[in-house]
Symmetry: D2
């Protein structure tokens, strides 16, 4: 019997981190053949070059799809998506997959959805049904309405997808594959490397051994021009507190220039002594760094997902994770320097952080592969009410 061909399209570094264990499980499954397409910013050096990590992790890449139109404004986001539809239509036409997997809610993921759906290829959507407060919200739910099968990360998400009129027998709570890695890392949590030595980076050569913060703040797409101002609040708060900090560069989005520009100019003018900047890090290393940190600050989904499993305190800033189900490890604040400072101090001293399994128990990758191997594929559906 020939294997079922599952084509997964990875368009960005964070998406890869989120599905890595699912990719491994698909690749290892006797009934499945993995077709891996790496596209968009995942191919680009200045957004972390996810493609290098993917290859180092031993995945064969079936096709690389360049689709990012330079400009980093809202018009080029739209055009990148249009171009992505055109390119991915070719890709699927050539690869002839039995099903296509689109991941979560980045703006360009809808290109995958359209290119598959319009060619009558069953579409599987990972991590639908969640809630946030920006353009991702629209894209995520539009992906849900284009998709035939839904593999979501929490019970709340499953309820929401079904409420949107999707057939409950095609909606599965697998947990989030990002938790799988956290689960493995949590078995051997020792920080067995020197971050600066291993990853270089720029900025002050901080003394992190007595405790440190981690910051990861992405631009919020639809609040485009504010990106610079927003990140400056966090920079000031961190600078003032003076606690040694590892700061991770944001990935691409329409506000990238704002956030990145804000960081660059703050560095040049204020030369904060306690901040060291990284472009990226192996996911395992990043999780170990988090486990030993005093607190994660910013608006990364890692704060919501992995950190509740790993018992890492989190200060979540602004609207980016708005609406996402979260654990008791998280404090939410607005873009306000003082509020950020206070929240960090509160979290740094928190002693009651418990382990929570909101986004799964660490076996999501295997569950995803098993469902993909056995479910009846379809590309026709009707709303349930």
């Amino acid at each position: 019997m020939s294997k079922r061909k599952i084509c997964v399209v990875v368009t960005a570094r964070p998406s890869y981190s989120r599905v890595k264990t699912a990719l491994s499980a698909i690749k290892a499954h006797p009934k499945l053949e993995l077709q891996l397409v790496v596209a968009g910013s995942a191919l680009l050096d200045r957004y972390g070059n996810a493609v290098d990590y993917i290859e180092k992790d031993g995945f064969a890449i079936n096709e690389k799809v360049f689709m990012v139109l330079e400009g980093e404004n809202k018009t080029s986001m739209a055009k990148t998506t249009g171009l992505g539809v055109m390119e991915l239509a070719n890709t699927f036409y050539n690869l002839k997959p039995d099903a296509v997997v689109t991941i979560a809610d980045r703006f360009e993921t809808i290109a995958t959805s359209i290119a598959a759906t319009y060619q009558n290829i069953p579409l599987i959507h990972l991590q639908g049904g969640e809630v946030t407060g920006n353009i991702d919200e629209k894209v995520r739910h539009a992906n849900t309405k284009l998709a035939d099968i839904h593999l979501v990360s929490s019970e709340e998400a499953r309820d929401r997808v079904i409420n949107m009129g999707e057939d409950a027998s095609y909606v599965f709570n697998t947990g989030c594959p990002s938790i799988d890695l956290a689960y493995e890392v949590a078995k051997r949590p020792e920080l067995d490397f020197d971050p600066i030595e291993k990853y270089g980076g720029v900025g002050s050569s901080i003394n992190w051994k007595d405790g440190y913060l981690v910051v990861m703040q992405h631009p919020v797409t639809t609040e485009y021009e504010q990106a610079r101002e927003d990140v400056t609040k966090t920079l000031k708060a961190i600078d003032k507190l003076g606690i040694p900090t590892f700061w991770f560069w944001p990935n691409v989005d329409a506000g990238a220039d704002g956030t990145s520009g804000g960081i660059r100019s703050y560095r040049e003018i204020h030369q904060p002594k306690n901040i060291h900047f990284f472009k990226n890090m192996l996911p395992e290393d990043f999780l170990r760094l988090l486990i030993h940190s005093k607190c994660l600050i910013g608006n990364s989904s890692v704060g919501i997902r992995e950190c509740s499993f790993l018992k890492v305190p989190v200060v979540n800033i602004g609207t980016r994770q708005h609406g996402r189900q979260r654990g008791s490890n998280v404090i939410d604040v607005t873009y306000d320097q003082k509020a950020i400072e206070d929240a960090i101090l509160n979290r740094v001293e928190a002693s009651d952080i418990i382990e929570e399994h909101i986004y799964g128990n660490g076996k999501a990758g295997e569950k995803i592969a098993d469902i993909l191997a056995d479910i009846t594929l379809r590309f026709h559906k009707t709303i349930t009410y």
Copy 2:
């Protein structure tokens, strides 16, 4: 005070018919400025050249967007959509509308939705919340999830959009503008022209004055290869019954070649004596032709919408209108020659057809314009559960 600029994108002939009165009402509204974009197959001769009718109706066209990639297969449908996103991104960037209107559920309408949404332009979706059984189903509901404001055509549709998690205060049942025209035509229903004389067409010069049928059968996109076989069932049924018939050519879709090819080869081989073919007709004339017909046969939405208002019997074939709310004037049949014949004979003799207002009462255009003039525009939303 400057007028609110409402950009409506018309991508096909039937879409134009459906929104014509809304366009007139927007154009006439003192607080609104109409920006009309004509795109896709609406510009093309062989799909009825809607653009000519639009101009004859006195609308100024702000921009024409060529985006249809030849090929008429599923891959070219996807690419047409991708190209549409790229082109319409430019269009909206240049026109700078206050809001963009996307219509219903044709595959390329999602290009309008993405190009607007990704540029933070409030998106208004007309005729969401309905149900059918093909790719349109996915596109329609994805449009709903990308849209900020929903102007739907029936109470059932309104409930469905709200159930999908849209904020009820942004979902309005305006009725369908197609009924507006039916409402006007119904005031002066006389058939005041000779169809063959006025519109030419090809095929037999039938004697229609003692009664005739009308056929309009479109390909069903996701059942692509069947299109030819499907239409042949209807051709045989009509040929056998021998009742004089006006047959309208289908509009573009991925199965167009199948349906059109089926019609062409049947004509060549069987030369049916009772069928005359038209490419298209002025909407008013078409509705008058329907009013005086014995029955409409095929899978056009006109059978579901206008005909229940105009008391025209309908034989609806196949899945294309599956799930759409319908009146008692409609009999549904599958692609089966005998079933089609029987249903036509049944409908031709029906004497109990009543007027029903499922899709509005004939004032939809004005309602739409009034809402667009006064509602608070937004481009941010969150699912309601």
Copy 3:
């Protein structure tokens, strides 16, 4: 030793006819592997569906590239070309040919040239160095300047390419492969089929057995709006002369609607009794039809190339073949009804038509394959002065 991979891109029906014997020779050559890409209008039903003939002729197609943007105006010609560059860049990236062949001078052929050249793939240009009076002129010579190796069809063409600064050791006069077919057909010239019976077509059922004309008139791209008026002159002349005539439908170009529209409306209004219309014909059959015709009328390159070899009288209308080297069989006229009539009468009675070998002796295909097998490929060049 692995075979040299030669990728030929065929974008239109007439281009295929022109290179068919070269394709066969490449396919048969022990040192070469043919990669055949069929693109553009060669894939489309309404432009003669060259792809069907190609497959019937036994060629395996490596990739089909849909790139024709509907609209048939000058803007869509440009966009089709841009889209062609994008799509063919993918194609060459995937096929990894050792060299790419672009044919002659149609507007979209420059897409092949750019996609190959920019990826450092040696580019071979067929049929450069000729002269005409329209946009093809620009495209042909631009292809020459992008190409690395030139396989031209006449001595005059060879001189011209070298004069443009190309290295003489990379410019070869192979003759035109279209003559190869004429050479084969001329060995067995009998008209062994009934054209109307075999090809159907539309229009009058003419009595052609006592002699007939053949017309093939294409729109002239840069005289766009005149296309309709131009073709009407020829229609009137043919109609008035009353000689039985086979008329071949034009292929796609920015004026297609003008020419086609002119033919359509003339047919409807005047219903000429002596004209039968064909969409297309097998090349061998077409040549046999020409051999037995009284005269070829129009602006097809067949009149200039094959007909001088086959001793067929030709009335060449207008500027399309302007500047192309021609034999004594050709009379040139402008778009003037009376001049066309007179020239046809003159040619019909001509008794002194001789065989000329301006465009080769019937062995071009083999010569082309031999050169491609042995020449040192390169993608670097410098103008010679």
Copy 4:
């Protein structure tokens, strides 16, 4: 009388520098209206953001065209060009210029040529007829064959364009507008600013006041993978000589990553004490910096053009300027560290540099505007032999 609309498309920072005085002269001319389109890398921050300088110089920009596809490989160069054709076709359709100006020979300039030519808009090509040894060679001469009017920079270039079969009455030697700026700057050559203070930059804070070198080395497109190795030769030579040096970052091209990467890693590893890096500089400032430098090193066309006028010694490395007519100020070397060192030492001590006017006398901008105002525009041409 309405003014003649001249649309100039600027796609890169160096192209802007080259035509700036022509833009000013067109803008100022009573018979002309300047339509300025800024496209491609000229819009992008990391390639010097030419658009900012253009706006600061007081030019109104009619349209910004984003067309650069990320990837920086040969395939994305091709696709960027294809996308450029599509976008610029829209631009010209909307702006309706009387003529379009394309500049020189960068890969994407052919997009301007195609988009104009295919829409029957007269195309003017600046700086054709020159000779170099890479992909630019092909693009430049293909632009010539697409163009209707040629405004070249030297007598040698004029001869070459005419030799290619262009009508001599449409080929004008205007000189190069880049010399116009050199001419103006030479009137007031004082170095009236501190480069590091005014432009920041990165790297060592060198003591430049007692003399310095300037380096500007671009990747050579068709020698893609060598870019990194090539630039390292220059870095080593400069590092070894120890003379204070201002190094300018390369602009975008398919080898950009190689060159930029080479520079970045050399800096990190060797931290050369005598090199300061700039991203870009106002052209006037750059020319003043050159005038006072000991020598320009690299492969910039500035070394060939402006420096022969300004009497600046030049070490030209590699093939990028191969074939371009040059003055006695230039020494050519290959990618060889020792040869580069020796040539620099030779040039630094040269005392016999004379002023030469190979590329014009400083009035090119005005000449260009005058010709554009008065010449009969055409979009039809035929090769002259």
